[in-house]
């Protein structure tokens, strides 16, 4: 159900509770991407990937610089947060 994450812990003596706890923790981590997108957190990986696709010779700006630029531009025009 959640590809690309460490495998679901095998059912052990500690019982089904551990399995479910493990699943809950995993689903939390795998949903992080969704949550970050909803919150509008700057997505550096997507930017680098896209830049490489548009212009392979372009050099992406550093992660911290990218995050700072995105946040600055988000909070300097009306409409980022409403009443």
């Amino acid at each position: 159900m959640f590809p690309n994450v460490s495998p679901v812990p095998a059912r052990t003596n500690s019982g089904i509770l551990t399995v479910w706890l493990g699943r809950i923790v995993q689903s939390l981590w795998s949903s992080e991407k969704t949550v970050r997108a909803i919150l509008g957190v700057p997505n550096y990986e997507a930017y680098v990937e896209r830049l490489a696709a548009i212009d392979p010779s372009a050099i992406p700006i550093a992660r911290a610089e990218f995050a700072a630029q995105c946040l600055e531009s988000r909070f300097n025009r009306p409409g980022s947060r409403c009443c």
Binding site: L39, N43, Y44, R50, C82
Partner: protein, 687 residues
């Protein structure tokens, strides 16, 4: 036969909705259960979404899933990013939903539950959701252009400039009135003050964590933040119960107002990553959590509405704010029915994320229905209080007097019963010295929510924690709007100011940043200070100004929408935006006129100034006004408020006249219409 089945299901939903409305409207004498209100709302939303939004999507805009959106065409992985529809929905909802839909319905409950409920439910399906959807679709077809740019392109430079100045005006009034709500909630409340105060270092800690310790791990940082928020709730109680610490944090209105101004200034000059961004993340989490918790609380408890359908205050004599049910119910509730501010969000980030044009329906129309549901829930939470308790919390001190006994007498004079002992017991149960005259809506909503939550999850002792939890999250929302708004206001001021003096516009030159921030904080701070020192509670004068300015912006948005529709050659469908536009113009102009010129000093700004002048001449001052100097300040403030209301009315008329000129020119064939839409490109060309 699926067609027949669908017809049957939708007929049933319509009948259930209509039946619930009839029950709400016709019940008299007995308390109506909140379930009827929820059912009426949900059925109306379902039918409107299924039929009306589909009509707008298919007939008016002819949205086409094959037509590449700006996010697809201009994808740069940064501003323009094609995003899943439900993620955009969440993002858009988190951006539009703030304290507005919680506070407005609570204040409007003074008319009874019916006017607010009808306006929230009917207003959203015909007005608010249409506005958000139309602006989102228009902006998506124009590479994500902003409302101001569209006003300039579609209508003309006069409308564009008026929209720009109107946005600045609404920001000033919005921030000041929301700050006033926070100040009134925290006044003489050491628990609340400590809890809210601690949210600032918590956010900064998260900011440092996200920048230096674990960059980008927002979920982790937010979890830590939420745990610390719970801790701050207990820390507040600990301080409030400590006899030496409690007085240190028992602050008066003016001190709190100055602290809030300093906070706004700090948020505007500090780097975004340190304060604004982490607060924003935290607030979004808390927002979604609280909306879900409120829904669960209401559905589990299904409380009866203690407030009558209509109170005698529909005649304009209400203690919470002056003015008759028309036009003031429609001004008081903006967010939840129709909020012009949403047009800025719908023409901001959202159109740059839509993966398909057709997603605009769920995001634009759907998210606004969701906000309307939040407003309905806030109305329910306010109406679970008995009218006596509701008015004890929301009426100003000038009407209630200083003690529970005088308050109970005043409330009995309005025909509602509450005993002084009940009021004292309630204050004690929520952990406050007194709940009297905590105007602004937030405290009475918090009491209602504390009642709901403690009914579901815990006995009497839990009510104080739930009350302060509700106050904390309301203040968290409000301060998030306030800090982001101050920063945006600073940028807008710099942009305007650079025409006068070029260095003022340099956004990274520190003296300009400090100067423009200080000027903008002083602008909203003036109104905040005026509200805090007003013996009538401030909400009476500031909330209607906020409502008028927000509806003015909605009028701008609907003018833009109408122009877009007419220029698409769809003039026969322009009723979609003209219907809510004409209602808003009538409402804003009537309310503005009454606020300025009403001969009743409780309602009209100028009449109030004359009343004070008369009192000064005869040497006696009305109760609550301490000195002649205070009275002169109040007279000056009344005239400023009248001028602000006049400015908003003039702005409505200018935009409307400029738009009508354009519509008539197009209709008469005097103007050749050139589409400002980005031309259709097929995806094949793109790929």
């Amino acid at each position: 036969m699926p067609r027949l089945l669908s017809a049957l299901v939708w007929s049933a939903i319509s009948i259930i909705g209509a039946g619930s409305f009839a029950w709400l409207a016709l019940s008299r004498g007995e308390a109506v259960n909140a379930a009827w209100l929820l059912t009426a709302a949900l059925c109306t939303y379902a039918v409107a979404y299924r039929f009306y939004s589909k009509f707008i999507a298919a007939k008016v805009f002819a949205l086409d899933a094959e037509r590449p959106t700006p996010a697809v065409r201009l994808n740069d992985g940064r501003d323009f990013v094609p995003t899943n529809r439900w993620i955009v929905f969440g993002h858009h909802f988190a951006a539009i939903a703030g304290p507005g839909p919680l506070v407005g319905p609570t204040l409007a409950a003074q008319f009874g539950y019916l006017p607010g409920a009808l306006w929230i439910i009917v207003g959203v399906v015909i007005g608010g959701a249409v506005q958000d959807f139309v602006i989102l679709a228009s902006s998506t077809r124009r590479n994500g252009r902003s409302l101001g740019q569209m006003a300039k392109d579609e209508i003309g430079p006069v409308a564009g400039f008026t929209a720009l100045v109107a946005v600045l005006g609404i920001m000033i009034v919005l921030i000041s009135v929301l700050a006033l709500v926070v100040v009134n909630a925290l006044r003489a409340s050491p628990w609340g003050t400590v809890t809210i105060g601690l949210t600032i270092p918590i956010a900064m800690l998260m900011g440092v964590y996200l920048r230096w310790i674990r960059p980008g791990r927002v979920l982790e940082a937010s979890m830590v933040g939420i745990i610390l928020l719970v801790f701050s709730l207990y820390a507040g109680r600990w301080v409030a119960e400590d006899p030496t610490l409690a007085p240190l944090f028992t602050l008066g209105g003016t001190t709190l107002a100055i602290l809030v101004m300093l906070y706004g200034f700090a948020a505007s000059v500090l780097p975004v990553w340190l304060l604004l961004a982490p607060r924003d993340y935290l607030s979004a989490f808390v927002k979604i959590g609280v909306v879900v918790a409120l829904a669960v609380g209401i559905v589990v408890v299904l409380p009866p509405l203690q407030m009558p359908a209509l109170t005698q205050f529909t005649d304009g004599s209400g203690p919470v704010f002056a003015g008759k049910v028309f036009p003031f119910a429609f001004i008081t509730i903006a967010c939840g029915s129709i909020s012009g501010f949403h047009a800025l969000v719908a023409s901001g980030t959202t159109p740059k994320l839509l993966e398909r044009e057709t997603d605009a329906r769920a995001v634009g129309y759907g998210a606004m229905l969701m906000e309307s549901l939040v407003a309905v829930m806030a109305l329910i939470a306010a109406c679970v209080l008995t009218p006596g308790v509701y008015f004890a919390i929301n009426a100003p001190a000038a009407l209630l007097g200083p003690t529970a006994t005088t308050a109970a007498q005043a409330i009995a004079g309005w025909g509602f019963t509450v005993t002084p002992a009940e009021l004292q017991l309630l204050a004690q149960r929520v952990g406050e010295e007194s709940l009297l005259s905590r105007t602004g809506g937030a405290p009475s909503l918090a009491v209602g929510m504390a009642y709901l939550f403690s009914s579901v999850l815990g006995g009497g002792g839990a009510m104080a924690l739930w009350y302060h939890f509700a106050i904390m999250f309301e203040a968290l929302f409000i301060l998030t709007t306030l800090d982001a708004g101050t920063r945006v206001g600073r940028f807008m001021l710099q942009d305007l100011g650079r025409h006068l003096w070029e260095p003022f516009g340099r956004v990274s030159w520190y003296p300009a940043v400090v100067m423009s921030s200080a000027i903008f904080v002083a602008m909203w701070g003036h109104f905040l200070y005026q509200g805090v020192t007003d013996p009538l509670g401030g909400i009476n004068s500031l909330w209607p100004l906020f409502g008028i300015s927000n509806q003015l912006l909605a009028a701008v948005a609907l003018c833009v929408g109408t122009t877009v529709i007419i220029k698409m050659g769809k003039a026969r469908y322009s009723f979609v935006t003209l219907l809510p536009l004409s209602w808003l113009v009538v409402v804003t102009l009537t309310a503005g006129w009454q606020k300025i010129f009403s001969p009743d000093p409780k309602l009209g700004f100028l009449a109030h100034a004359r009343f004070l002048e008369g009192a000064m001449e005869s040497g006696g001052l009305p109760s609550g006004v301490k000195s002649m100097g205070d009275a002169s300040t109040m007279i000056f403030n009344d005239r400023v408020d009248a001028a602000v209301a006049g400015f908003f009315m003039a702005a409505v008329l200018v935009i409307l006249a400029d738009s009508a000129r354009e519509w008539l020119a197009v209709a008469a064939g005097r103007k050749v219409v050139r589409s400002s839409e980005t031309p259709f490109e097929t995806k094949a060309v793109q790929a």
